[in-house]
Symmetry: C2
Subunit: 297 residues, 2 copies
């Protein structure tokens, strides 16, 4: 599957597929959890795949990681302790550590992902694993959340899609554990899949989160290496209603941080929550969504 005819492609969904020309397969391995590869692709440079699904690439990883991390961390006025579940490539950890946090705990279930990424995709973590504020734990994120007595300002779930090892990270039980582990005012954010190709899954995540958290909002970004490109994240607040900070306040927070970005801006932060009509209908739980550009999904 991975590089037949020098192309990498995920299996087509409903007759739709994007594919990437491959120069070389740099790493292949199997862990107890999944099949891990690192490919060198023509359009996006090196790419990590898990069980044949594109996870991240050198060229576009910043889009995904900036939007997963900077939106909740600039949304929260003073994030000091952050928990990351998944994210074994280190790109999320790296962006978290760009903020003035005191502690970033990163719980990744699959040591092989960390090892392959550190060796073959060192530009993604860019030294983050060695930061003294980082604590990397190889273990089960759901189990960690049930046991931990730490309380976090932000919890980020940077997982594969809701199949296999990551399935438990999309359940209401997991969301309850996450909410319990948040400090007052805490925020929870996760990647929540393609509104085009995984619309049922996105609707289910929105429903299950709303059964646990008082305020839940979906936001979007364009991530070229992911199927369908348009991608969703979901943000939830432990307490009260999620209000977007005013533009000027986001600008102040970004300037104070000194963080440089390639995708995120304060304007993009606010605009990412403006959902196309069909996505808004999806996350409201409407059973039939008029205007979905991929009918039947």
């Amino acid at each position: 599957v991975s590089d037949a005819g020098q192309w990498f492609a995920e299996p087509p969904i409903r007759g739709w597929q994007q594919r990437f020309q491959v120069r070389e397969r740099l790493f292949v391995g199997d862990s107890p959890y999944q099949h891990v590869e690192v490919l060198d692709t023509v359009p996006f440079g090196r790419m990590l795949t898990l069980d044949g699904a594109a996870q991240t690439t050198e060229a576009d990883e910043h889009v995904y990681h900036e939007m997963l991390v900077h939106v909740p961390l600039f949304q929260h006025p003073t994030p000091r302790r952050v928990l990351i579940i998944g994210g074994g490539d280190g790109g999320t950890l790296r962006r978290v550590l760009q903020h003035p946090v005191a502690l970033a705990v990163n719980v990744e279930i699959d040591e092989l992902v960390v090892r392959a990424a550190r060796e073959h995709l060192p530009g993604i973590s860019a030294g983050a694993f060695d930061d003294p504020r980082a604590q990397v734990i190889i273990g089960d994120g759901a189990h960690f959340l049930q046991e931990t007595e730490l309380r976090f300002d932000v919890i980020l779930v940077d997982s594969t899609d809701p199949v296999g090892a990551a399935k438990a990270l999309f359940s209401a039980d997991f969301f309850r554990s996450a909410r319990r582990a948040l400090a007052p005012g805490g925020l929870y954010a996760m990647q929540s899949g393609s509104p085009l190709l995984q619309s049922a899954e996105l609707a289910e995540v929105a429903r299950a989160l709303a059964s646990v958290f008082p305020s839940v909002r979906t936001y979007l970004a364009s991530i070229p290496a992911y199927p369908g490109v348009l991608w969703s994240f979901t943000l939830a607040a432990r307490d009260g209603a999620l209000e977007l900070p005013p533009q000027a306040e986001l600008e102040r927070r970004l300037a104070a941080s000194g963080i440089q970005t390639g995708y995120y801006t304060p304007e993009v932060h606010r605009a990412a929550f403006a959902l196309p009509a069909f996505v808004a209908a999806l996350v409201r739980g409407e059973p039939r969504v008029a205007g979905h550009p991929l009918p039947g999904r």
Copy 2:
């Protein structure tokens, strides 16, 4: 190229390609301008292709047409006369006629496109060609603009990419003719290609428009059947600075129109102008764009 192995794909760009499974080829023809096909695809239903490039599909045409039409027509307080150049499938004309316009002139160079679309994609124009307010002219849009004594509130360019027949529609000369044919307060809008795959072309359009119009702004939408999905449009004002109407005013205009949408909303209208950092850098004309997710483009 078109349906080898039952798949339709545009040629890969820098080793990146998306493709669509094809059930049947419904129409094939050649005009003096281009090769025209209508394919029945699995993911998006019927698709119009010109010279092997996807133009529009039944399933996602509303995203493109709503964003090309409703953004400028709700941006303008009272659009009465509208000119469309290109748009032979009728989807742009149909959305223009949903507004209380008095006249919509549609100048399409290629009669074969109109004929193929009316026969095989009737759901896209949905009767618009027969509306008494519509005037359809088969001819050269650039020539029409030079000769016309009509003045339009909005001019929309719904063209193929800047190669072949459409190349003239991307030049400063053409933009000058367009500005001359706008009434005071008039707006000009065009599709301006992929910020990922055609970034040099987008930067050039922004530069050339800014040499003719006092105010130019780029906006974005996610159009699944187009390569890279993330797509740009550019809006220009004949006079003064382009200010986005307040949310409440856009809501008032949409409600007054009674228009139903699948993608456009007043929030999306405003958010579409919030450009990711790398797109903002592109349209500002920065020679090297940090953070572009497809390096080298």
